[in-house]
Amino acid sequence: MARAVTTQHKTIATAAAWVVALLIFFPILYTIITSFKSEQEAIQGFNLIPSGTFESYSEVQQQSGYFKFFFNSVLLSVGSTILALIVAIPAAWSMAFSPTKRTKDILMWMLSTKMMPAVAVLFPIYLIFRDSGLLDSRIGLTVMLMLINLPIVVWMLYTYFREIPGEILEAARMDGASLWNEIIYVLTPMAVPGIASTMLLNIILAWNEAFWTIRLTTTNAAPLTAFISSFSSPQGLFWAKLSAASTLAIAPILIMGWFSQKQLVRGLTFGAVK
């Protein structure tokens, strides 16, 4: 017997949920609104209806070259994710399909590297980067972000791969498929959704990484996190410009994020909550 939902109950729940949701979303909404105001408007008190000017956007691009930072963000987040996938797919595959006694320990150990506080190795990494000329280089930072997210990539892929039935692989083996054929023709097509989810979540994580990307870059390789941090010491009227820059920095990843809610839960809880 299904419980009848009264319209009244649903109305109250809907109203409450919308109020809370709008309150939580408000800082983002207000930033987007303010980005379409002029600087004068932006400081004239609370106002939800902008005049609809685009001048802040063009100023942000002209003064600080938004697109260079945007390009770096795309390059770093996508590049580091692809690199991580290349390294992690074989590892996750072998752990999911040929587990040994030590597989669990290795997975645990990988996860533990994620718990090392970045700040503890800040200076050594800084020195290594400086002495090998990697400071403010895109390659250096890509590798860095790859290493930071590698444990999560391995874990996510592992939880996805483990759900692929092993019997199919055995059948392929019986038919005489070699290991590489097995991977390319049997496993890959079944693994593509998991790999895509992993990729999506890790692009988001890399895009928003705000410790190494700020500390190890100055101008050349600086992504949007570093670009935005330069707004922390304001000069004159900058509310509308800050809003425009912020909107530009979060819009791409916000939209990607909306599509990855489910993967987010799974990826960040290491498969413990589905």
């Binding site: 809370v20 979303f25 399909f97 020195l127 809003s243």
Partner: protein
């Protein structure tokens, strides 16, 4: 049935990940450990050498150390309480039948995708600014004096910003867990006359316990190393009022060039994280056995 050949291939496939992570973890950590026993100043190379535990003593006796530990723990505990309690309430609300649930979910989860410096700057300038912020507008509307958040309550301000960033994460995970609760069980409890509170206490909460554990553990890992939010809002100040351990280590290393002391602080941060990690690994490990 793995053959010898399969097994060695498996090892070969695992090697790049394992070696990379091993090097990435061990090499910098050994450096940090080494520097923590050295006097080393990149600006003054004449005064280098082994100094035993004096860096630890110096870091420990620095009044900022106690502040930073207290602030670190205050941030972690406050944000955990706000996000877990708020997340449970929100998840229960969103689990109700409502119109436009998809959009509501999108609105609620959004702050999680906002990069830390943007979140901090938006709150600092748009919301909490004592003159132009929305909070100030509201205060003036009611004839009250606007609060100077970052001057008078810097730590509270940082906690609010971080809680805003993590509340969506807690809500989403707890909601996912709540939606897997068997509807028939709920109905049975209802028919037996269990009230809302006892249903919550004896049915819903135990069902969510694993998700709550996971939320607490994962958030703790990230909350222990809050950095960008402090950098762009208070810069650790006024004084040390909002300096946490990562921020103090950063100041010592890259602003004061006291590498030895910064490394000693880094080692302390590693020990602190390891204590947390120990419990985290056990909980995640248990889930893996299922």
């Amino acid at each position: 049935m793995a053959t010898q050949q399969t097994r060695s291939l498996a090892r070969f496939m695992m090697a790049p990940s394992v070696i990379l992570l091993f090097v990435w973890m061990i090499v910098p950590l050994l450096f940090t450990l080494w520097f923590s026993f050295q006097q080393y100043n990149p600006l003054n190379p004449m005064r280098d050498g082994f100094v035993g535990f004096s860096n630890y003593a110096l870091f420990y006796s620095n009044p900022a150390f106690l502040y930073s530990i207290l602030n670190t723990l205050t941030i972690v505990v406050s944000v955990l309480v706000i996000t877990v309690v708020g997340g449970i309430l929100l998840a229960m609300l969103l689990d109700q039948p409502i119109w436009g649930q998809g959009i509501v979910r999108i609105l609620v989860i959004s702050p999680f995708f906002v990069m830390p410096p943007v979140a901090a700057l938006v709150w600092k300038n748009m919301i909490m600014h004592p003159q132009y912020g929305v909070f100030a507008d509201i205060a003036r509307f009611f004839g009250a004096q606007p609060i100077d958040w970052f001057g008078q309550h810097p730590l509270t301000a940082v906690i609010l910003i971080v809680a805003w960033q993590w509340l969506p994460f807690a809500t989403l995970i707890l909601l996912t867990s709540l939606q897997s609760l068997d509807g028939e069980q709920k109905e049975a409890a209802e028919m037996d006359g269990a009230g809302f509170l006892s249903r919550f206490w004896y049915l819903t909460l135990p069902h969510m316990s694993r998700a709550i554990t996971v939320v607490i553990l994962i958030q703790t890992i990230f909350l222990l190393s809050i950095y960008a939010e402090i950098l762009v809002t208070t810069n650790g100040g006024p004084g040390y009022a909002s300096t946490n351990l990562p921020f103090l280590v950063y100041q010592k290393a890259l602003l004061e060039f006291k590498i030895g002391q910064a490394s000693a602080g880094g080692v302390i941060a590693v020990i602190l994280a390891n204590i947390v990690a120990f419990f985290a690994m056990r909980a995640v490990g248990k889930n893996l056995d299922k």
